[in-house]
C-alpha cells in the first residue's frame, strides 16, 4: 500500500503551502504599534553595503538601542536591490516604522502625497529635536518634495566630483596637471599615444569610463564634463526660467568633446559595457588607463591599491585634480548634499504621539555618541581615539567594515558630522586627506547646484524616468557615433513631445511658487 504511506506526505505538502500563504498574506505589523499605544520597538529598513549585514545581537545595535530608548529592529537590505525592495515594501503590508528612502521614485512620491508618510517640515523646524535641525537648509530643501520635508536627510559631502590622474605618467611625459578641458584632452591624447609608462608598447589609453547604468544627472563622468562646459546641473536657470540642461548649446558642445575623446580612442573601448564595480580601479592600477572622473574618495582607494603593490612608491602614483574649467567658464559639479532620507510611514506609525516617540529616538540616534557608534564602532574594541582621529584595530577590520558599511547608513548627521575621522596611516595619506579638504573648499565656490532639486513635477512622476532614459541613451549613442546630430535632436524632440514640455512647464510653475 504505497499510496497509504504517501498520503500524509501529500497532506503535509498541502499544509505547508497553506501556511506559507498565511505568513505572506498576514499583516505582520512592523514595529508593534498597531493601535494607538506607545511603541516598544523601532523597526528600521536600511541598505547595507558591507559584505554581510550586522548580526541580530550586534554590539553597536545593542548600544544604539540603549541610546534610542527603543529596541532597534533592523531590516537590512542589500544596497544593490534597495530601490526595488522599497517599492515592493511600500506596496505590501509589512511596513517598518522608519524607512531609508534613497530616491524620490514615483512609488514614494505618490504614497507621500496621498498622506502615506508624515510631513516632518514643522516638527523638524520646531527645534524640539536639536540633533535633527539641519546645518544646511538648502540641502534639506533639496531633499523635500516641493517644499514638504518627508524625511531626515542623510548628509553627504557637497563636493565629491574630482579628476584622479596618474601622477607618475604626467611626470614621465613632462606634463602638468590639467586645469581646463582642453588640457585634459591633451593629457588624454598623450596618455594614449606617447607611451606614458615608457615600456615601448602602445598599450595605454587616457580615460577610464565604465558602463553607467543610471540615467542623466546622476554624477557620471559625462554629467561632470557637461557641467564643466556650463550646461548646468540637470536643470539650468536661464533668466529666472528653468530649462533642462540637455537643451542648452553648452550641453551639445560638451557632447562633442566627449565624442572626440571616445572616437579618438582616448577612452577604453568597452566604455558601454565595462563593469564599474571592479572595472574602474583595475585598469588604473594595472597601468592601462590614467584618468578617472569620479568621486574624490576614488583617489584614496587607488592609493590603497598601489600601496599593496609597492608601499615604497605608492605616494607618487595618484594625483587629485578636482573640477576643471571649461571653455565657457569655471564650474564644479556638486552632489545633492544628501543621499536619501529617513522617512516615517503612517501605516506603521499611526498617531502623533507615536511620531514624536520615533522622532525623539531619531534625534538621539543623531547625537554625538550615536554617530560615533554608527561610523566608528565601539571605542576600545575595534578602535581607539587619538586626538581627533580614530585608530582602527586591524585585527577587527571585519567588524569595522560592517559598522561603516551598515550602521553608518542610518546616520543622518544633518547637524554636522561629529564622529571621528580615521587617522591617516602615512604622511601621504594625510596629504591626500588635506588636498581633498582644500579642493572641497575651492570647488564649493564654483559649484553649480540643481535649481530644480526640490521640485517634483506631476508629469515627471508618471513618466519622467522613461523620458530621461531617452536622453541618456541618445547621449551615449551620439558619442559612440551610432547616431548623428539630427538623431540627437530627434531624441530631444521626442523627449519634449512625449511629456517633456509638460514637465518643463510644471517645473517652472513650481519654481515660481517656491522661488
Amino acid at each position: 500500500m504505497r499510496t497509504r504511506r504517501l498520503a500524509p506526505l501529500a497532506l503535509l505538502a498541502v499544509g505547508s503551502l497553506a501556511l506559507a500563504a498565511c505568513s505572506s498574506g498576514g499583516s505582520g505589523d512592523g514595529g508593534g504599534g498597531g493601535g494607538g499605544e506607545a511603541l516598544d520597538s523601532l523597526s528600521i529598513m536600511a541598505p547595507y553595503l558591507s559584505a554581510t549585514p550586522p548580526e541580530a545581537d550586534d554590539k553597536v545595535g545593542t548600544e544604539l538601542s540603549k541610546i534610542a530608548g527603543l529596541d532597534l529592529d533592523m531590516q537590512w537590505v542589500p544596497n544593490a536591490e534597495y530601490g526595488d525592495r522599497t517599492n515592493v515594501v511600500l506596496a505590501g503590508d509589512d511596513i517598518p516604522d522608519v524607512m531609508v528612502i534613497q530616491q524620490k521614485s514615483q512609488g514614494f512620491v505618490q504614497t507621500a502625497e496621498a498622506g502615506g508618510f508624515w510631513d516632518l517640515t514643522d516638527y523638524l523646524a520646531s527645534g524640539d529635536y536639536p540633533n535633527l535641525v539641519t546645518e544646511n537648509p538648502d540641502v534639506q530643501q533639496a531633499s523635500s518634495v516641493n517644499g514638504k520635508v518627508f524625511g531626515v536627510y542623510r548628509a553627504r559631502d557637497v563636493v565629491r566630483t574630482s579628476i584622479t590622474i596618474r601622477k607618475d605618467w604626467l611626470k614621465n611625459l613632462g606634463l602638468d596637471e590639467p586645469t581646463n578641458t582642453d588640457e585634459l584632452m591633451k593629457v588624454a591624447k598623450a596618455f594614449t599615444e606617447d607611451d606614458p609608462d615608457g615600456n615601448g608598447k602602445d598599450d595605454t589609453y587616457g580615460m577610464i569610463i565604465p558602463a553607467w547604468g543610471a540615467s542623466i544627472g546622476t554624477g557620471s563622468p559625462y554629467d561632470a564634463i557637461e557641467t564643466w562646459f556650463g550646461a548646468g546641473n540637470v536643470w539650468k536657470d536661464e533668466g529666472g526660467k528653468l530649462v533642462p540642461s540637455f537643451t542648452t548649446p553648452e550641453w551639445k558642445q560638451a557632447l562633442d568633446y566627449e565624442k572626440e575623446l571616445i572616437q579618438s580612442g582616448y577612452v577604453n573601448k568597452d566604455y558601454a559595457t565595462m563593469d564599474g564595480t571592479t572595472g574602474w580601479n583595475e585598469p588604473f592600477v594595472n597601468g592601462k588607463g590614467g584618468i578617472i572622473i569620479d568621486v574624490q574618495s576614488r583617489a584614496s582607494q587607488l592609493a590603497e591599491l598601489f600601496k599593496e603593490q609597492d608601499p615604497k612608491t605608492y605616494d607618487q602614483k595618484v594625483a587629485l585634480v578636482g573640477n576643471i574649467a571649461g571653455p565657457n567658464g569655471d564650474f564644479a559639479l556638486p552632489t545633492p548634499g544628501y543621499s536619501g532620507f529617513l522617512a516615517i510611514p503612517k501605516a506603521s506609525v499611526q498617531t502623533e504621539d507615536q511620531l514624536k516617540q520615533v522622532l525623539t529616538a531619531l534625534d538621539k540616534l543623531s547625537s554625538k555618541d550615536a554617530q560615533i557608534l554608527e561610523n566608528n564602532g565601539i571605542e576600545g574594541d575595534n578602535f581607539t581615539v587619538d586626538g581627533d582621529h580614530a585608530v582602527f584595530d586591524k585585527s577587527k577590520q571585519d567588524f569595522t567594515d560592517v559598522v561603516s558599511g551598515s550602521w553608518a547608513q542610518i546616520g543622518t548627521n544633518v547637524g554636522g558630522f561629529e564622529a571621528y575621522k580615521p587617522k591617516p596611516e602615512t604622511e601621504y595619506d594625510a596629504e591626500l586627506e588635506k588636498e581633498r579638504a582644500d579642493l572641497q573648499a575651492k570647488d564649493l565656490k564654483k559649484a553649480v547646484f540643481n535649481p530644480g532639486a526640490a521640485l517634483v513635477s506631476k508629469t515627471y512622476m508618471s513618466n519622467g524616468v522613461q523620458l530621461d532614459q531617452v536622453i541618456a541613451d541618445a547621449r551615449i549613442q551620439y558619442i559612440s557615433g551610432q547616431i548623428d546630430e539630427s538623431g540627437l535632436d530627434a531624441a530631444i524632440a521626442q523627449w519634449k513631445s512625449s511629456g517633456g514640455d509638460a514637465v518643463t512647464a510644471e517645473m517652472n510653475e513650481l519654481y515660481g511658487q517656491l522661488g
Binding site: 498520503a7 512609488g107 558601454a272 503612517k346 508618471s462 532614459q469
Partner: protein, 324 residues
C-alpha cells in the same frame, strides 16, 4: 505529458475507465476509490488557486491609480487610462517589435534545432556515446543566466575575448560585440541555443523511443535509406509531439527570458533589447509605477493568450490534434 504524446492512439480506453458513462453513485464510488490520487492532486490545485488565480484580484490596479497607502479599494478608478498611455507611447511599437522578433527567433530557429538534435541523437548506435553526448548537452541547462552572460562577456570582451578576437581577425575591424545593436539578437539566440537545445530534446527522445521498430525493419526491406526512413517514418511519428510542443512554446512566446535580456542589455543596445518584461521591471519595480506596469503586463498576457488560441486553432485546421 504521456497522455498528450499518445493522442494518436486515443480510442484505446484507459484501463480504469468504465465503458459507459457512470451514474452518480458509480461516480462517487470512483472518487472514493481514487481518493488518494485526488488528495495528491490538491497541492497542484492549491498552487494554481493561490499563485495564479488569487493574484488576478490584484490585476484590477491596472485600471486604477494605485497608491499602496490607500489600498486597492481606496485608489482612484481611472479605467483604460494606463492602457491608452501605453499604446500611444512611442516605446510600445519598439517593445512589441523587439519582443516578437526575439520570440520568432527562438520559435523558428532554436525550436527546430531541438528536433534536429533529437533526431541526430536517435541515430547514434553506440549507446555509451549517445548517453555521454546527451549528458553533455544537458549541462548548460543547469547553469543560471548570470553564469551564461558572464561567460559571454568573457568570450566576447572587446579586444581581449577569444571569440571577439577571432571574429575581429575575420572582419578586420574591432567591434564591441556586447554593445553593438546588430549583434544583440544573434548573441541572445546563440545563448538560448547553447543553454536550452539539449534539454529540449528530452521529450522528443521519449517520443522517438516509442516509434514502432517494425516499421523501420519493413522500410529497410523495401530499400529505404536513412533519409527516407527519417522523413517517412520518424518525423510523422513524432508529429503530434512537435505540434504540442509548438503550441506550448507559443504560449511562452512573449515570456522572452527576462533575466537573460536584462543582463545582456546596455546603453548602446537598448533600442533592440527592451522587451515587455524588462519594461515592466523598469517601470513597476524600479520606479514604483504600479498601475502602469500592471497595465503593460496585462496587455502582454492578452497578446500571449491570443497567440496560443490562434496556434491551437491552426493546428486543428491542419488536421492535427490541438491541446484543448
Amino acid at each position: 505529458m504521456t497522455a498528450v504524446v499518445d493522442v494518436e492512439q486515443a480510442g484505446a480506453p484507459a484501463p480504469a475507465a468504465p465503458p459507459v458513462a457512470p451514474r452518480p453513485r458509480r461516480r462517487w464510488a470512483r472518487v472514493v476509490r481514487f481518493r488518494w490520487l485526488l488528495v495528491m492532486l490538491l497541492p497542484g490545485i492549491l498552487y494554481f488557486l493561490l499563485f495564479r488565480i488569487w493574484p488576478m484580484w490584484g490585476a484590477q490596479i491596472a485600471f486604477k491609480n494605485y497608491v499602496p497607502f490607500l489600498g486597492i479599494q481606496g485608489s482612484e478608478w481611472v479605467g483604460w487610462e494606463h492602457f491608452a498611455e501605453f499604446f500611444s507611447n512611442p516605446d510600445f511599437p519598439r517593445l512589441l517589435g523587439n519582443t516578437l522578433i526575439l520570440a520568432a527567433l527562438s520559435l523558428f530557429v532554436a525550436f527546430p534545432l531541438t528536433i534536429v538534435l533529437a533526431l541526430l541523437l536517435n541515430e547514434v548506435r553506440l549507446s555509451v556515446l549517445k548517453r555521454t553526448v546527451q549528458t553533455l548537452v544537458y549541462i548548460p541547462h543547469f547553469l543560471s543566466w548570470t553564469v551564461v552572460v558572464s561567460l559571454t562577456a568573457l568570450l566576447f570582451a572587446i579586444g581581449t575575448g577569444p571569440l571577439s578576437s577571432f571574429l575581429d581577425g575575420l572582419t578586420g575591424t574591432e567591434t564591441n560585440y556586447l554593445a553593438d545593436p546588430d549583434w544583440f539578437r544573434p548573441l541572445i539566440l546563440l545563448q538560448t541555443i547553447w543553454k536550452s537545445t539539449g534539454w529540449g530534446t528530452i521529450i522528443f527522445l521519449a517520443a522517438l523511443a516509442s516509434v514502432d521498430q517494425e516499421q523501420y525493419e519493413a522500410a529497410v526491406i523495401d530499400g529505404a535509406g536513412r533519409w527516407q526512413r527519417t522523413w517517412h517514418i520518424t518525423l510523422p511519428a513524432i508529429r503530434p509531439t512537435i505540434i504540442v510542443m509548438l503550441i506550448l512554446q507559443t504560449g511562452e512566446i512573449l515570456n522572452t527570458g527576462f533575466e537573460q535580456i536584462y543582463l545582456m542589455s546596455n546603453a548602446l543596445n537598448r533600442t533592440v533589447a527592451d522587451v515587455f518584461d524588462t519594461y515592466v521591471y523598469f517601470t513597476g519595480i524600479q520606479q514604483g509605477a504600479y498601475s502602469y506596469s500592471t497595465a503593460v503586463g496585462l496587455s502582454k498576457a492578452i497578446v500571449g493568450l491570443v497567440l496560443i488560441f490562434g496556434t491551437n486553432w491552426l493546428a486543428k485546421r491542419f488536421n492535427q490534434q490541438g491541446i484543448f
